[in-house]
Amino acid sequence: MRLVRRFLGQKAFVIGAGILAVIVALALLAPLLAPHDPYAQNLALRNVPPVWYAKGSWLHPLGTDQLGRDYLSRVLYGARISLLIGVSVVLISGIIGTTMGLLAGYFGGKVDLAMTFLVTTRLSMPVILVALAVVAMVGGSLWVVILVLGFLKWDRFAVVMRSATQQVRSLDYVAAAEAAGASTSRIIMREVLPNIVPHLIVVATLEAASAILLEAALSFLGLGVQPPLPSWGLMISEAKAYMFFAFWLIAIPGSALALLIFAINLAGDGLRDVISPEGRA
């Protein structure tokens, strides 16, 4: 039974990771694959529908937007922005959160108490609200969004890394290293950290998905990535005024976003099932 479940988990992982690999490849190869310049406007060809509509043509397979820019090219370049957000935010928040979790889990006591306080404080402030406010004050740009989200989203890393460290810390080989006289920093870096990496990867995938969704929401509200960058959330926001007669302008980047999140979540869930079958919720 457990084997079957594990296999199913791996199947989910295979599908998720497969879709994700395709999206990453499309994003990396965007300059080669995009039929047009994603920023080139053509005011004579505005809101051209995708090829599967009667008025569509293969010249613009996914149609054009309100400024006559090729939508396929913009969607392809948009994948780069989403992936960049996911990776960079997770790098920043992962380093902050993992450091906190490692220290709290290893030392316990007052350090642990301080971390619990910081996490509780952070959790009580809605991310989207704080991010919106800061971006509005500082001014929106890709890097501002990355920094703001990176400094807000370390909470889950801290919590998971803390409990993982606590588990590893009580194991024999850590005690052995302590008895052998290894320094604390050496024990943390060489004995503890490598053993909690699997948990780290699982949290990182799920947090990347959440960061991508948050960037899209911020950009959708006009307080994230700024035009003319082809952020999927921003594309949906720009197309809102035309949704009555050109809903594909919303449906295409929206579906791309949903597919990317679906793939990351599936890969993350599959990974979790394979790494810790008992911790399935």
């Binding site: 306080f117 509780t120 959790l123 402030m125 809605p126 609200l129 809903f247 949903a258 979540n265």
Partner: protein
Amino acid sequence: MIGYILKRLGLALLVALAVSAIAFFLLRLSGDIAMAIAGEGAREEDLAIIRETYGLNRPLIVQYLDWLWQTIRGDFGTSIYFKTDVSKLVLDKLPTTILLGILALGFALLVSIPLGVLAAVYTNTWIDRLALAIAVVGQALPNFFFALILVMLFSITLRWLPVSGSATWLHFVMPTIALGYYVAPAFMRLIRAGMIEVLSADYIRTARAKGLPARKIIFKHALRNAVVPVVALTAVQLGFLLGGSVVIETIFALDGLGYLAYQSITYKDFPVMQIIVLLLSVVYVLLTLAADIANAWLDPRIRVA
């Protein structure tokens, strides 16, 4: 129990204090309030006068303590953009957001409890897979995109529901669904997992052996125990709802606290922004406090920790 409550209360108070400091300093350090009042391109003399009248040339820490003291006394200051008392503004909008929160939570539970129970009772059947699909789609679909799909379907194509505003109960239908579906997947997964665990417990086997009808076992014996962790999750999900309400209320121009938050942010209305960040955080702190106390009351083992 009293000791536990006091300890949690102390922590909640400290967190609220920390949040107030963050809400104040973060916003102050990232923007110029005098510029926000005067508008872009204001003359330096005008800015100086504004700084003088609003006391902005005092040390930041003094301004913070002053603001904190005023806020604790219930004086939330005056909105720069709306030119009215912030407290009146907030009180006017609060009922809409509370109503939306309750409706969305109700919708989420209405969907997730039956689906979670059915998925657990009929594991690995088409019902389980349907429930899983609904949960997976709910987690992948950006809530603003889902909201626009609803608008396209119910307002534009079918013409059943109004696009935006908050005048009638019809205005609440789409925001409720959009916000509720956003938090439903987490509930569904938790209830399914909890039910599967509970259904394999000894006392359920005893109940089965006694010949009790399946319906009675599921609803009277199993669900009651599977629902306990849902209480804790509800507090966390209410936090998500508060954040989500900013996006959803803005899309539907639903006149609540979330929409006010968005407006105050775009107009750089500092006094309103600070109070809303503080208020939503304090609400979250109180909710988790209540959930912790409820859990400790339900489960004595927690009190010791």
